[in-house]
């Protein structure tokens, strides 16, 4: 078991998050921004699970469970938004 595997994975996934940020910044439509928020949700869950193993802190799995359970709340709130919520000034 290579010792730097888990932290390496965490760094890799966090870089993924940073890349996803580009889409949130650039995404023309609100839906794009919301989809990248979805990406953040699942990536954070993965990072938390790896942290739980790496730092041997079982509570992190509960945090991951919370995140994955509540991920749908934001999307449902977004669904109720009016159509042109962020359309006014969407130029990148």
């Amino acid at each position: 078991m290579i010792s730097w595997l888990l932290p390496g994975l965490v760094v890799f996934l966090l870089l993924n998050l940073a890349a996803g940020l580009v889409r949130v910044a650039r995404g023309p439509t609100p839906a794009d921004r919301m989809s990248s928020a979805l990406l953040f949700g699942s990536t954070t869950v993965a990072v938390l699970l790896i942290l739980a193993e790496w730092m041997s802190e079982p509570a992190m799995r509960n945090v991951a469970l919370l995140f994955v359970m509540l991920a749908a709340v934001i999307s449902l709130a977004f669904f109720g938004m009016p159509r042109d919520i962020g359309a006014g000034d969407d130029e990148p």
């Binding site: 910044a25 609100p30 992190m60 749908a72 709340v73 962020g86 006014g88 000034d89």
Partner: protein
């Protein structure tokens, strides 16, 4: 390797914070702020504070994000034609003041961190006296046994915030627009997630005595279940404050105060809890109060009524 992870999380926090306050579209700001909350949970995890990561996740993902999105929707619905974003305040002083504040905090923080002093005397005292409380999670010990006046007054702060918001909720009780025609998927989502939030919140409540968890995190998770029901249109805001809503709203404060005062009759000091059963009873009552207060704050109303689809 630790440093690489921490610096990435720190970089993410700073970038997200900057994006949340600058940038043009308010909606983008909210998304950035929600993601900032997610990353804060990671930061707490890395700093070895699982209780705070749990609280940040429960309150951040469950309540705050949806609260801000619904607030933005109310803003756009009230004046659809108006640009949501008034122009930025022109202030040349902003940057120097901000840099000054940042450097002041940096100097203080580094000063506090660099000299390695022995840990706080109160923290050591908590660890020494924790055994007699029957709890093994020191944070729950501090919150509910050693400094329980803080917790009681803080539930009062939450009630005060709700009553203050109640004073402001006038005729904006129009329901958050339920999706037209009940979507099959949302029904399935509710059927699975809502009972799960109840299960997880009870688990967090009971686990609070020996591992990270407690009344606040449990209350916030329960509130997230209520938020889901409102978003899906199953619960509608209602005016008026029936007893069925008012009692659970103040239950936490009532139970905590009554037990705290009753103990004085038996000669014990104020708020000295008789035993572990009292701690669990108070935590359960507080969980219900916190959950209902957060849900009502989200619904923007003083009551809720069921809505058969």
């Amino acid at each position: 390797m630790n440093l690489a992870v921490d610096s990435l999380i720190g970089l993410g926090l700073v970038a997200l914070a900057w994006q949340a306050i600058s940038g043009r579209s308010l909606f983008r700001g909210i998304v950035m702020f929600v993601v900032f909350g997610l990353t804060m949970a990671l930061a707490w995890a890395r700093m070895g504070a699982p209780d705070l990561a749990l609280a940040e996740a429960a309150i951040g993902a469950g309540v705050t994000g949806a609260l801000m999105l619904v607030a933005l929707r109310r803003l756009v619905q009230l004046h659809p034609d108006q640009p949501a974003e008034p122009k930025r305040a022109r202030s040349r002083l902003a940057l120097p003041i901000a840099l000054l504040a940042a450097s002041l905090v940096a100097v203080i923080g580094l000063g506090a961190v660099s000299v390695d002093r022995e840990p706080g005397r109160a923290g050591v005292a908590v660890m020494d006296n924790l055994a007699e409380t029957g709890l093994s999670n020191p944070i729950t010990g501090v919150l509910l046994v050693f400094r329980n006046l803080d917790t009681l007054l803080e539930v009062a702060v939450l009630l005060a915030a709700f009553l203050a918001a109640l004073a402001v909720f006038r005729d904006q009780e129009q329901a958050p627009a339920p999706p037209r025609g009940d979507l099959p998927l949302v029904g399935a989502l509710l059927a699975i997630i809502v009972p799960l939030t109840i299960l997880v919140s009870v688990h967090l409540l009971l686990a609070g005595s020996h591992e990270p968890g407690g009344a606040f995190q449990a209350g916030a998770v329960l509130a997230a279940g209520g938020v889901l029901l409102i978003l899906a249109g199953r619960l509608q805001p209602a005016s008026g404050m029936p007893l069925a809503t008012a009692l659970p709203l103040v239950l936490g404060l009532l139970v905590f105060s009554v037990i705290g005062l009753a103990m004085m009759l038996t000669g014990a000091p104020l708020l000295a809890l008789p035993g572990l059963w009292a701690v669990y009873l108070i935590e359960a009552a507080m969980m219900i109060s916190i959950a209902l207060t957060l849900v009502l704050l989200f619904a923007g109303a003083s009551g809720l009524r069921r809505e058969r689809p």
